[in-house]
């Protein structure tokens, strides 16, 4: 039996194909203005990689910000549930999940059964979300993916007066004009990001083990700053792209719903 999970986020759309034992294939593409188009394209890509026909998919669960717009979904389940499911499957010792997406940040606390105890989320303010890093990368004229490596080369982080993305942007421009190195600015940006996420983590209270998911999990500079700030080791998921956690959780739910164990 083949099932699928489709996670439509604000910036990326993800699909995971699962057969009950392993991930057959996955895809990550940019979200489309019409979310349905993105969902189809991500599904086609994953099917092509796994060389399976779309018709052979028994069940699909949609999740994420655009979950209602997955045309081929049999059911929808919230992101919180899907992230928890996915992270617990990959790493059963996880008790706190920090998920930083393109436009939000969630901190989920779970029990030994992998059930959600409580969660806090920020989707009101761009600071502390992927969007903050995106804006800063643009000001620094570097690719978002390069920001992390750049920060690691910095040795004296600049301080940003305010967490607000708008004010931080003005600060970064000011530092650039003063001739401060991009590396030190990038380091300060990652520190500020970690600080903002740290506030949310502390609201949820932290239990070990802590794991990070979502696109920003790939920014190792931010993860390192967050570890320093919280004084814990953060587990990096390496066997699966951390951005796929939600889609994987959706696929796991799909497998259960389709009668698999």
């Amino acid at each position: 039996m083949i099932v699928a999970g489709c996670d439509i986020g604000s910036l990326t759309t993800k699909v995971v194909l699962f057969d009950g034992k392993k991930i057959l294939a996955s895809s990550i593409i940019k979200s489309k203005p019409k979310p349905e188009d993105g969902a189809y394209e991500a599904l086609q890509q994953a099917c092509a990689i796994a060389t399976v026909n779309q018709d052979t998919i028994t069940y699909c669960v949609g999740t994420g910000y655009g979950r209602k717009r997955v045309p081929f979904a049999n059911d929808t389940i919230s992101e919180i549930s899907c992230h928890t499911k996915g992270a617990f499957y990959l790493y059963p010792n996880v008790r706190t999940i920090i998920d930083i997406g393109g436009q939000d940040c969630k901190v989920i606390s779970l029990n030994t059964q992998g059930e959600v105890d409580r969660f806090v989320t920020n989707d009101k303010c761009a600071a502390g979300t992927g969007r903050f890093l995106e804006v800063m990368a643009k000001v620094l004229k570097v690719e978002l993916q390069e920001l992390s490596n750049m920060a690691k080369k910095g040795n004296e982080a600049i301080t940003l007066a305010s967490a607000c993305t708008v004010w931080a942007q003005a600060d970064v421009i000011k530092y650039l004009n003063e001739g401060i190195s991009k590396e030190n600015i990038a380091l300060g940006v990652c520190k500020s990001m970690a600080k903002r996420v740290g506030v949310l983590v502390n609201q949820a209270s932290i239990k070990k083990d802590v794991c990070i998911t979502g696109g920003v999990a790939k920014n190792t500079a931010v993860v390192k700053e967050l570890e320093n700030l919280l004084g814990v080791t953060i587990i990096k998921i390496t066997n699966v792209d951390p951005q796929l956690t939600g889609a994987l959780g959706a696929a796991l739910f799909a497998y259960q719903k389709a009668g698999g164990k």
Partner: protein
């Protein structure tokens, strides 16, 4: 006796020249470069535009974000105190001041003598400040001075689901793409900022009369939006942007009078 007040804000620099109880000149300049540069430019344009020589001015009082960078100000006073003094001079019935500047918003409760009773301040989040309109006007590709005209053409307030400037920017783009009327979008933006500032005001409570000051008060659309949210008429004076500088000038005058008396 001629005195002057100087308010160096983040976006504009203002000066008010006072001769006894008459405002004889007001000057407004955009801030480009450092606060000190702006302060010096302000001094030279006072001379140019009014013919008043610096030696004729008995004292300068400075206020605002750049208050410490005004070389010629012998007195410095906080923005809140200056705003309270300024508005009391204009209309002594005012008990609440709502001031929206380029990079902050403040709400201040005053008594009948212009003394500050309580105040709240937001400079942490851009969404409750003039910057919100500046950035979204940029997305709409209209000068900020034209927002009021567009607002008047709107027939309904579009509800924005985002408060954050960064998220609202994206929302405005998708509203434009979906063919929403510019006037309605602007009305919605004014409503969003008004709601944000009103919740700041309500955190300390408001008492009438309420004056709306700061550069944003020149925008009639914004005045209407704030009046609808607060369900009351607002006092908006032609010198609404000059309140800090006016208050500073009044404080300079007071200090000199006290000095002479003692």
């Amino acid at each position: 006796m001629i005195v002057a007040g100087c308010d160096i804000g983040s976006t504009t620099a203002k000066a008010v020249i006072l001769d006894d109880s008459t405002i004889i000149a007001t000057i407004l300049l955009p801030v480009e470069g450092s606060p000190k540069d702006a302060a010096l430019l302000l001094l030279s344009s006072v001379q140019e535009k009014t013919g008043i020589q610096p030696s004729q001015i008995e004292a300068w009082c400075g206020t605002g974000y750049g208050q410490k960078n005004i070389p010629y100000a012998s007195i410095v006073e906080s923005e809140i105190v200056c705003h309270a003094k300024g508005i009391q001079f204009i209309d002594s019935d005012v008990r609440t001041i709502i001031d929206i500047g380029g990079q902050d918003a403040k709400v201040c409760r005053i008594d009948a003598y212009g003394n500050v009773q309580r105040y709240v301040y937001n400079d942490k989040c851009a969404s409750g400040t003039g910057r919100f309109l500046e950035i979204t006007a940029d997305v709409l590709e209209v000068p900020i001075t034209e927002l009021a005209i567009l607002d008047a053409k709107g027939v309904k307030e579009v509800t924005l689901s985002n408060q954050c400037v960064v998220f609202a920017e994206t929302e405005v783009i998708s509203l434009l793409n979906s063919g929403e009327d510019m006037g309605n979008i602007v009305k919605g933006l004014h409503r969003a900022l008004a709601s944000r500032v009103a919740s700041l005001a309500l955190s300390i409570g408001v008492e009438e009369k309420i004056a709306f000051t700061g550069g944003v008060a020149h925008n009639a659309g914004m005045v209407g939006a704030l009046e609808r949210v607060l369900k009351t008429k607002l006092v908006v004076h032609e010198y609404c942007q000059m309140m800090g500088a006016l208050g500073a000038a009044l404080i300079a005058q007071e200090r000199i009078k006290n000095r002479v008396a003692s």
